[in-house]
């Protein structure tokens, strides 16, 4: 009687989960291996920065402005109870720079950019366009993935500061309408409580969020299977996975920056 070979170490689900985690880390390692090696596709990086940055601008502007405006409007009654409405600019700027700006930007980009990267690369994978690049002696990972990951990392950072700024403008509209505070007074008061650690943690967060969006979108796209269904799945998983990771990273980075602040 022939010995029956056990096809999985634990079970299919557990084995595939471990393999997925291993593949994801291998994908990240490949990025760091490729990013510093020539050839450098600067033109492609600039094109992707345009795709990620400029095309996300209207949505970020609207969301940032509304976030600042509504957050100020909702905070005002609570502060009025203590006669502390003069703290509004500081409160809003700290909230926007430390948390809301990077987080709101990252979530919007995960939805808009992450899904688009997942769908575009997924479509290229299932229609053999990525293979076509490879057999033409062009490194598809370098050309398609590395340029997109650099672009999302840089642009989410830039957009998150832009989002915080637009959010402050939204907050100013509310503050000015109620307290007739001048523009310069508002921003002076707002920025007086922002310190280096706030800016540093905000930049770190944005870079990490942007990198996550890029790497997850590219990973899901490059691993798309099963035709058009696989493309939809890649786009969907790119959004869900990157949003989940962004929340986890937010908690970890906030914790670390609070420790730094304490010391």
């Amino acid at each position: 009687m022939t010995k029956k070979i056990r096809p999985y170490i634990f079970s299919r689900g557990i084995d595939e989960t471990f393999k997925g985690v291993y593949d994801a880390f291998a994908f990240i390692a490949l990025f760091f291996k490729q990013v510093f090696k020539p050839p450098f596709h600067f033109r492609q990086v600039i094109d992707q920065c345009y795709e990620v940055g400029i095309k996300s601008l209207p949505l970020i502007t609207l969301t940032g402005f509304v976030t600042g405006l509504v957050f100020t409007k909702q905070s005002r009654p609570s502060l009025e109870v203590f006669g502390a409405t003069s703290w509004l600019p500081s409160l809003i700027s700290i909230a926007l720079v430390r948390a809301l700006g990077p987080l709101v930007t990252a979530l919007i980009c995960a939805g808009k950019v992450g899904s688009s990267i997942g769908a575009e690369l997924g479509s290229m994978k299932v229609t053999e366009q990525i293979d076509a690049m490879e057999v033409s002696a062009i490194n598809p990972f370098k050309y398609l993935a590395v340029s997109r990951i650099i672009a999302t990392t840089l642009m989410v950072c830039v957009l998150s500061f832009y989002c915080s700024f637009v959010g402050l403008l939204g907050a100013f509209v509310n503050v000015h309408a109620n307290d007739t505070t001048s523009f310069s007074n508002f921003f002076q008061s707002g920025f007086s409580d922002i310190n280096f650690i706030d800016i540093f943690s905000s930049v770190t967060k944005s870079l990490v969020f942007g990198f996550t969006i890029g790497i997850v979108g590219c990973y899901k796209g490059f691993n798309a299977t099963q035709g058009t269904r696989g493309v939809g799945k890649a786009a969907n998983q790119a959004v869900v996975t990157s949003m989940f990771l962004i929340f986890v990273e937010e908690i970890v980075i906030v914790q670390i920056s609070n420790w730094i602040r304490f010391f």
């Binding site: 575009e120 053999e128 366009q129 293979d131 076509a132 490879e134 057999v135 033409s136 002696a137």
Partner: protein, 257 residues
């Protein structure tokens, strides 16, 4: 249409495959196949869908790794090459995909320029333009220069796919189901194009198909892949003179008696 006589150098092997095995999990696709393709020769690989024909040519360009066996292309063992060496070899191999695999975000001109400009940075704009026009004329689609792939018919996409491989002046052409999904007239045009490419560029080719008309018109030699091995190799007439029931049923299905 009779195929024009073409010089085949039987002393020089463009591709040499010995004892090639490839499995996907429990599915054994290639079970020890041997095949030589001589310089200037068109070899047609025939077989049912799912018998590993496409897997075979994907191994030749290093898109898939063999489980065991020796695969030599232009005298180089493919799975032993470094990435740099493999890329250098790939410049000599043209791969025409079944789906054409045109870059759908680029127009025809950009599709053709892309492999050239990415691999040869020092080419002038004039040289690139000349190369694009030359291959477009070779496939008879010079008027489609600025069209998007989505605006082309299936046959036109196949032709542009072939033109994109020709722009790198390959020594070897690998055609994956070049006539699948096309009407009979367009199939004949593609068959003619494959023969023209062989004549004009002196390429050695492997043509993967299950279309017997394509096999008869384009192949100098036919290899019948069944159940993971080549059961018969020879001229089209020799292969189908075989009494093997599987070969005969393949023939009867294509040319309904």
């Amino acid at each position: 249409m009779e195929k024009k006589a073409h010089n085949i150098d039987i002393n020089e092997k463009a591709i040499s495959i010995k004892g090639l095995y490839k499995s996907f999990g429990d599915l054994h696709v290639l079970k020890g196949i041997d095949l030589d393709v001589h310089k200037g020769e068109n070899v047609v690989v025939l077989g049912k869908s799912g018998t590993g024909k496409s897997v075979l040519i994907k191994i030749l360009v290093g898109l898939l790794k063999p489980d065991s066996g020796v695969v030599e292309v232009l005298g180089k063992e493919v799975d032993k090459l470094s990435q740099k060496e493999l890329d250098a070899l790939r410049l000599h191999i043209g791969f025409a995909f079944q789906s054409s695999a045109l870059y759908d975000s680029m127009d025809v001109r950009q599709n053709l320029e892309f492999p050239l400009t990415m691999n040869f940075k020092n080419l002038s704009k004039g040289e690139v333009k000349d190369s694009v026009e030359e291959v477009l004329e070779a496939v008879g689609l010079i008027d489609k220069l600025n069209q998007m792939p989505s605006d082309l018919s299936g046959g036109q996409r196949k032709r542009i796919g072939i033109a994109r491989t020709l722009i790198l002046k390959p020594q070897i052409m690998l055609y994956d189901e070049p006539t699948s999904g096309l009407d009979p007239i367009t199939c004949l045009e593609i068959n003619e194009l494959i023969n023209e490419v062989q004549q004009k560029y002196n390429t050695s080719s492997i043509i993967i198909t299950h279309d017997l008309t394509c096999a008869k018109e384009t192949g100098d030699r036919v290899a019948m892949l069944l159940d993971g091995i080549f059961v018969k190799t020879g001229s089209f007439e020799d292969v189908f003179a075989d009494k093997d029931e599987r070969i005969q049923s393949f023939y009867n299905y294509n040319f309904i008696k």
